[in-house]
Amino acid sequence: MSDLDVADTNVCDVVIIGAGPAGLAAATRLAEAGLRVVVLDEQQRVGGQIMRQPPSEFRIREWMDDAVYRPLKSLISRAEADSRVDWKMGCTVWGVFRSTLPQGGFDVRYVQGKRSETLYSPRVLVAAGCTEMPAPFPGWQLPGVMGAGALQSFYKSQQLVVGRRIVLAGSHPLLLVVAQQLARAGANVTGVFFAQPWRRVLNGLRQPRALLSGAPLLWQATGLLLDLRRRGIPLHFSSCVTAALGGDRLEQVEWAPVVNGRPQQDPRHTLACDALGVCYGFLPATELARLAGASATPAEGGGWRVCSDADGRTDVPGLHVAGEQTGIKGAAAALVEGRLAALALLSDIGLIRPDDPHLPRTRKALAQQRRFAQLLTQLSTMSDEFFGALLTDDTLVCRCEDIERRQLSTTLTENQLLRAASATKLLTRAGMGLCQGRYCESTIRRLLRSQGSAQPGGFRPRAPVRPVPVEALCRSPDASAIRWDELHSCNDPEHR
């Protein structure tokens, strides 16, 4: 590596991955302290998924005008005006590695345009957010079926309403927000299906301490319910979509009542629609932090959360995390957590004192936010049995490799000792495709749990964490330093 000329422009004090609320809050605070900060994000503009901005070429009279978005909007405009931060947008980070440079730190590798570039930094903050939780059911691969968040981001950022008749289904309150936004934009929302009983929501509301911290969101939710009612949008509780039906595309959904947490076989109803948005919750997108060596543990609502101390330090020195990385908690909490991670980082390098009063103050604010987040998770998480009952024999579990539940069940029955999704992958190919297991890992882990494996392992994160063209890697100025043998092959020590 010493023969390699590392340009000054590729060296910085902190690399932040993700320009959502956590990343933005951290970036502005660190830049204020005089650090050289580079922020990498795959989107064209900052904001993350929650504040997915329209292209700068669009002029929009009212964008995300609800009061609840105000703090995030002001964060975005402060961030975009902050020229001390080096904003690198449209960049796909494909790996974070312990550095090959003698001084240590990290190599952060990303593709921008047609080639791979590298940033060298002693510290990295991963704030890469989350993805929607996959919940396979028959027909979920049909065109027209998508994440409710996808329907929402087409509207928020592209001002596009997908579908003429839209159905929303799942268990997460995001469905209410999406229903209202699309209805306001002129869409015909023909049904919103919540799998959990209304009773569960009411019971949840008996936790005054948690409620207090979530007051603005609760206010928003109450307004939403009234507004949807006024608009005549049918809202169903204890009901779920059990199948997407159609030939080449979605034509109708089948839905059923949910009794004791299980969708019923009888009665089954149908409802015509050409778009279905599904949301049962979110999974932290922690593959980069884990690739860099951070340990992780199963998250409460599914997926993996990175293990960190109260201020976002992982067990890898210099590697920090903030936002959904440490468990799903929403944008308001992510913003506070980003600020806290920045303070911790500043204290580590001696730019603020360890007894700086902002630290305990920020921790306290975060604790409040977290209580409400836990309540939300409790209200919206469905059981393994529920998701298991949505799967039929020919439901696709792995969308990329077209692997049905039938094939996975057979493999699991024949190999009773399977304890990890990574081993299941080698036997079935489920998880080997382009999404790299993001849309099947949680289902495979559920199947393993139903076979008696209490804490099944997942897929080992592997670089590149997103498919990137080999051409882009070859064009990298330090292609010789890429550890090709570590890239996406079956060199997992467990299965070699």
Binding site: E42, Q44, Q49, P54, P55, S56, E57, F58, R59, I60, R61, E62, T92, T131, E132, Q141, L142, P143, G144, V145, M146, G147, G149, A150, L151, S153, F154, Y155, Q158, Q159, L160, V161, V162, G163, R164, A185, G186, D248, R249, D274, A285, R399, C400, E401, D402, G433, L434, C435, R438, Y439, R466, P467, P469
Partner: protein
């Protein structure tokens, strides 16, 4: 039908893309996925069994919206490259093919 919200939204730079040989309108800042969906095309690529797929996540994670693209300057016959339609902004004259399996 899928539609662009017009009320309160001003788009600039109208342009034309070629999707499967058909002229499709688009605006500056739109993604390829937006232009395809707004044109009433609902299917993007095939899966290994011949079934159709279309955007699922709209954030670059699921790879269901892959299409083949060629720059307008590239001569016909040039190898098209795969791209995530939801992540790539449009450019005038972009040549897009749907219906292939990656």
């Amino acid at each position: 039908m899928t539609f662009r919200v017009a009320n309160g939204v001003t788009r600039i730079g109208p342009m034309t893309l070629l999707v499967d040989g058909r002229e499709v309108p688009a605006y500056n800042g739109e993604t390829i996925a937006t232009a395809i969906l707004a044109a009433g095309i609902q299917s993007f690529r095939r899966d290994s069994r011949g079934g159709w797929r279309a955007p699922y996540c709209n954030m670059g994670a699921c790879h269901e919206c892959l299409v083949r693209v060629r720059e307008p300057a590239e001569p016909a016959g040039t190898d098209a490259r795969w791209t995530r339609a939801c992540m790539e902004p449009v450019r005038p004259g972009l040549v897009i093919e749907t219906g292939e399996a990656p």
